[in-house]
Symmetry: C4
Subunit: 221 residues, 4 copies
């Protein structure tokens, strides 16, 4: 029962996150056609601010992961039972897909459309590894701080990562799958999604084990 | 007596909020004519930052609603007596109207002017439903956090919502009525206001009942 | 002795504030010639962020006023002895002037230059009244919150006020005097300064008395 | 042992900081060719937000200096043993160099390239003195506040300093050395680095002694 409610929070939060990412991308492209820098700036501010607000709203309920690799890392750190991981995954991916539909309906587009935005090559994959490693560094590094600190740190980090990585930092498998279903500013060609997801997994696990090493040192003292 | 003072805070806060929204829209359009993306970016930053500052300033006095559907949701959650709701509504709407006059006088325009900005159609209405649902999710989700957290969360959320919704997220019936009286960047044609307000009411009530369901689950455990 | 040190903090803080305002205005105008919206956006972000950082740094030492009307309001509210007010004024104005020199030297300009930027008329004066009333509302409204909350609220408010007022919100007599000595983006013609300062005084005193009325009501209950 | 782990945090944090600075500079220049103001705005937002997130993530582990003059100032204030200073320096400089490689690989550039970006002259040196003096004022002024306050203050200050100084505020010798090895938007000609580093040292030491004077006064009372 409780898990149902937590999963509803993960689903609604993920849906709103995708509505923010995809919707602000569409708005930015419409208002600034051909001006990629200005469009990405607007997309960045909306995503960073919206993500912080959503984490603040849902962190007390479900932990506000909205991201399968964050859930995976939580399970690896014994912060979430492994038995609840599949339900979180389903809620996040289903919510993300619904969020794409919400964005498309708000902007009078078909519910889904396969993206044609090519994001291929090892540099893109390495970018996703770096982006997700950094995201987990922020999340685990702030895990003992107040939840409001974590929320602002994650929003700030993702705002930076939209610009400092060559892939604009998806850093989230559910977001990657959902953006493959949106042929708009923030989309990704479905064929390019597997490399992104593999790199995200690797980045998240690497950061988790790095912090495990750091914290073991702490316990010994 | 106390209600009088709280309502004065709601009125002055709502007036300043409208001065921020309408004033920054006029300034943005004058400095960036024909550059909608840049103008909306400036309007967004001013609104998000100004709203956060106003909530921080007045939350200890009146709760800093500045928004009839926030007041309605508070009454539904027993956080405000129903008998005080009409006074809050009057203060918010009167304050918002005064705010439009303040913005217009600062920029040497007539006190009021009926907007000709068309914002019609179901996609716009759906956008207002989504925007207001999200706003109330943020407000209720952060209701147990510190008031400064709530203020920054609302400011961040509205900054995102200016971009991720097709309607630029009015999410507030008092703001909608007041913006109908301003034929400037942020205006809305009076004929389009009723759909916006209906969608806002629906979004706010939906979010309120969703959280009631979430919190009942919590009490049972 | 202690007053000397507090005044040194007011002077250095005011100097850095003016270096931020004037310096970022020069940089913005150089990088975005003829693009007023983009230049003001950069000037806004630098000022809002810099002001918040400076208040956080000096609030524990001198209260981080950096503004004669903030000092005046503190004295009216018995938060600062009247006898210390003149020393604060001197430190703020001298510091602000030094800040203009610092900005000009960084950008290889003469130490001082009389501004030719016309900012005249009743709409400009009314804008300064509104801007300063709002600033004091934020400062007094957040006076009981944590100092970090106050700092972020003031930074956010000034960022908004750069856009929602027709005068770009000087809201500070020391800043006004100093900007009259800089013929750059953020300057003001010396002849226009007196109206600005008079309007700022009126706005600050009005906000102070409004909050006195609000707080008296609170005490009676 | 413990020092090894703290130095790994300094190295990884410095690497990520340089990836943010250099990477977002490359992205900004590619998306906004010839539009310096827009490119610097994006570079500013990424750097300020990323720096705040990194400080929040690592402050509990190593203090999150990522900057030799911050480490030097900590030693001068007896907040770090002098014996640990060399290890911090090595970690920061090595990490910064690795960060440049990470950024270059993400954007498919050679690992290193000597910058040809001229940043010479006394005005540039004075700008670095002012920028670093201000950075240390913020860090020492916020040292008694919560670590989250310090992190946001530093991020906000650096965002402002990118615009208010003529040198775009390197304010960090490790960052200066690393940016000399990147012939991109944020680079600096190796021949210009020594002046920058000398000015940074002078600014940091001046701020440290100014606060020592302020705090002595406090102790006497």
């Amino acid at each position: 029962m409780n898990l149902l409610r937590r999963c509803s929070a993960e689903a609604i939060g993920s849906a709103m996150l995708l509505a923010v990412i995809v919707g602000s991308g569409i708005m930015a492209e419409r208002l600034a056609p051909g001006q990629s820098a200005l469009a990405l700036l607007a997309n960045t501010l909306a995503t960073g601010a919206g993500l912080a607000a959503l984490i603040l709203s849902f962190s007390a309920i479900s932990g506000a992961h909205f991201n399968p690799v964050v859930t995976l890392s939580a399970a690896l750190r014994n912060a979430l039972p492994w038995g609840e991981v599949p339900a979180y995954f389903v809620a996040q991916i289903a919510g993300a897909m619904i969020g794409v539909v919400i964005a498309h309906v708000m902007f009078e587009l078909p519910w889904f459309s396969a993206s044609q935005h090519v994001r291929a090559g090892m540099a893109q994959g390495f970018s996703e590894f770096v982006a997700t490693f950094g995201l987990l560094v922020v999340i685990i590094g702030c895990a003992r701080a107040k939840q409001s600190t974590l929320a602002f740190a994650v929003g700030a980090y993702i705002s930076a990562a939209y610009w400092f990585t060559a892939s604009t930092a998806f850093a989230n498998p559910a977001v990657t799958l959902a953006r493959a279903a949106s042929d708009t500013f923030s989309g990704i060609r479905p064929a390019d999604a597997p490399l992104f997801i593999a790199a995200q997994l690797l980045g998240a696990v690497t950061a988790t084990y790095y912090f495990r090493w750091l914290q073991k040192a702490e316990l010994k003292q």
